[in-house]
């Protein structure tokens, strides 16, 4: 039993980072996933005895949600994880899942699960004094559909539909992470052409997503012109997706062992021209925002997450790079066409709203450049090739617009025994709650928009 904690502690001391934890075999086993700086992965297993295993949340605070999820879905007890609050299970009163805050003039503001605009469902409980947030308890999983469990027992090929349904905004990322996990388990390697096709799809997804995120931050400060301009660019990016793949969110373009992307000379030329136009207009809009002082004044020193906190809480993607952590799965992705990729961090990595917004623009310029190169020649239908080294558990790790997404597939022949999808949004949601504390309540929408996480792919 203690051996598991020692193995976890040794992995973390050896420079590995926590990357996910899930219960398997109907709750008989728990597996913790760790990633090395070079992108290599390590699973540490522990057999569950009498429904309990030791918690690792003191060693890796980023495991908090994973352990709470496993406790709710598999009835496990994580000894030492106190209090072990429910996460997916919404039964019982608020005392079960909120942190009690007491003192002179403290009170609670409940927001959601239905929000005031067009926003996904989730519940935020703010503990405040006046306008100052003392503590935010976020309850997600209103949209929990049991997608992982529903996929289990089906074929690996069928599983792709469940992963795609997890989230439209991350459909390609989640699809590629799942395909990589299956191919890792089946002993398949992508050809150079397949790697290129998937990289194109991933960067098209990042392009519309980052344009959308800049629009969202403009909305968060009430700058209608900026919101409208970047929403218009998001619309053009989605139209381009439809031109290239027949679907505005690129649905159906990723499959296990292959790619459905096929682009002729005219297609790639038209795509490059449109992307160049998008780049030009986005750069012009970004310049406008840079010189709009009433916009810029809202961004610094709000929702600060320091590098130490980002590490501790397991922040990923633009949220981690905003704190100065130059980590991006794309720089360690041998299965994709990112040769020589260098992660970007903002000039001022202060971990605040401004530092989370800046990477969106910096990464957009990167994506436009990548796509221009990747689309320099036609794209042919491509398939993975066997290497003969299959195994029972496969893992895929891909950088989504919101950060590292991990997919673990455990198989029995062609059947899915266990599927776990831990998205960049899932990793970052606890960081949002942390970032809100000690800020003004009216700044919360802006702080939230600076992360712009999906609820759907956290809830699954």
């Amino acid at each position: 039993m203690t051996d598991y904690r020692e193995r976890v502690a040794a992995a973390l001391e050896g420079g590995l980072r926590f990357a996910g934890l899930h219960a398997s075999a109907g709750g008989a086993v728990v597996r913790a996933l760790f990633v090395a700086p070079d992108g290599s992965l390590r699973l540490e297993d522990i057999a569950v005895e009498r429904g309990a295993i030791p918690s690792i949340v003191d060693l890796a605070p980023a495991a908090a949600w994973d352990e709470r999820e496993a406790a709710d879905l598999y009835g496990l007890v994580f000894t030492g994880h106190e209090p072990l609050r429910p996460l997916v299970d919404h039964g019982g009163g608020n005392d079960r899942w909120t942190v009690r805050v007491a003192g002179a003039d403290t009170y609670e503001i409940a927001v959601g699960p239905i929000h005031a605009g067009v926003i996904e469902s989730g519940h935020f409980r703010f503990h405040v004094v006046g306008d100052r947030i003392l503590q935010l308890d976020a309850r997600l999983f209103y949209k929990h559909r049991g997608l992982e469990r529903a996929a289990e027992g089906g074929s690996l090929e069928e599983g792709a539909a469940y992963v795609a349904r997890a989230c439209a905004a991350c459909a390609v990322t989640n699809g590629v992470a799942y395909a990589h996990a299956c191919e890792d388990a089946l002993g398949l390697e992508p050809t150079a052409e397949l790697a290129r096709a998937r990289t194109i799809l991933l960067e098209l997804e990042r392009t519309w997503s980052h344009l959308n995120d800049i629009a969202a931050v403009c909305a968060g400060v009430g700058l209608a012109a900026g919101n409208n301009l970047f929403a218009a660019l998001t619309e053009r990016a989605r139209r381009l997706n439809r031109e290239l793949t027949g679907h505005r969110f690129l649905f159906g373009s990723v499959s296990v062992g292959g790619s459905a992307l096929e682009l002729g000379r005219d297609d790639v030329e038209a795509a490059r021209a449109e992307l160049d136009e998008l780049r030009r207009r986005a750069a012009s809009g970004w310049r406008e925002l840079a010189f709009n002082s009433s916009f810029q004044d809202r961004l610094p020193d709000v929702g600060v997450v320091t590098a130490e906190d980002a590490d501790r809480l397991g922040a990923v993607g633009p949220a981690a790079r905003a704190a100065g952590r130059a980590e991006d799965v794309r720089s360690v992705s041998p299965r994709l066409a990112y040769d020589g990729f260098e992660p970007v961090v903002p000039e001022r990595p202060a971990g605040d709203v401004q530092a989370r917004l800046d990477p969106r623009a910096l990464e957009l310029w990167q994506s436009f450049e990548l796509l221009d190169g990747l689309l320099a020649r036609p794209v042919a239908l491509a398939a993975a090739t066997p290497t003969g080294r299959g195994r029972e558990i496969g893992v895929g790790r891909v950088e989504s617009p919101r950060g590292a997404t991990c997919c673990v597939v455990e198989r029995d022949g062609d059947r899915i025994e266990r599927l776990r999808l831990r998205t960049g949004s899932y990793a970052n949601w606890p960081v949002v709650a942390f970032a809100a504390a000690d800020n003004l309540l009216p700044d919360f929408p802006l702080i939230n928009k600076s992360f712009e996480l999906c609820y759907a792919c956290a809830d699954r």
């Binding site: 919404h90 699960p113 239905i114 005031a116 605009g117 067009v118 926003i119 996904e120 469902s121 999983f141 209103y142 949209k143 929990h144 559909r145 049991g146 997608l147 469990r149 529903a150 539909a161 469940y162 349904r165 997890a166 989230c167 439209a168 905004a169 959308n212 012109a225 900026g226 409208n228 301009l229 929403a231 218009a232 998001t234 619309e235 989605r238 505005r248 969110f249 649905f251 207009r281 012009s284 809009g285 310049r287 406008e288 010189f291 709009n292 999906c454 609820y455 759907a456 792919c457």
Partner: protein, 155 residues
């Protein structure tokens, strides 16, 4: 700032959006009952300069108390069922329910029986169906305009 506003004005001119002529309006309250976030992203862009839903008097309102239409996305999850009913019961009459997207309509639902209640019509009476996975912004706009045009009064 001026460049940005000029860009938006040019976009408006290029798109040549039709002038609104209906002289009526619908206030819409959106509820995500368990979507994949695709319908939300498309509904958001229905308000973008390419479609500008607001010019027809179609607006998203912050409270079901102000709404004529409850626009529901996603298959209804067990965890969202109660909140959806609370929102519906908070609406003044007459009221309409629109199911947005294939999941809300019960097409190809994915999930477990314990976690999903079913399509919107398993919980509420549905007046308008907008198919698609997800429906594009123009399809959303057209469907909502049909709802305005087909009703003399929301009686």
């Amino acid at each position: 700032m001026l460049t940005m506003l000029k860009d938006l004005r040019r976009l408006r001119r290029e798109e040549g959006l039709a002038r609104p002529h209906r002289g009526r309006s619908l206030a819409i309250r959106h509820v995500d009952a368990g979507s994949c976030n695709g319908c939300e992203h498309e509904l958001t862009l229905a308000s973008s300069p390419y479609y500008d839903l607001q010019r027809f008097g179609l607006g998203i309102v912050a409270s079901p108390r102000h709404a004529d239409v409850l626009l529901v996305t996603g298959a209804v999850t067990s965890n969202m069922r109660d909140a959806l009913l609370v929102a519906y019961n908070a609406m003044p009459e007459p009221r309409r329910v629109a199911a947005l997207g294939d999941c809300a309509l019960g097409c190809n639902l994915l999930g477990t029986g314990a976690d999903l209640v079913g399509p919107v019509e398993a919980v509420l009476p549905v007046d308008l169906r907008i198919p698609g996975c997800p429906p594009a912004p123009d399809a959303i706009a057209e469907a909502l305009l049909r709802l305005i045009d087909s009703t003399d009064t929301l009686g």
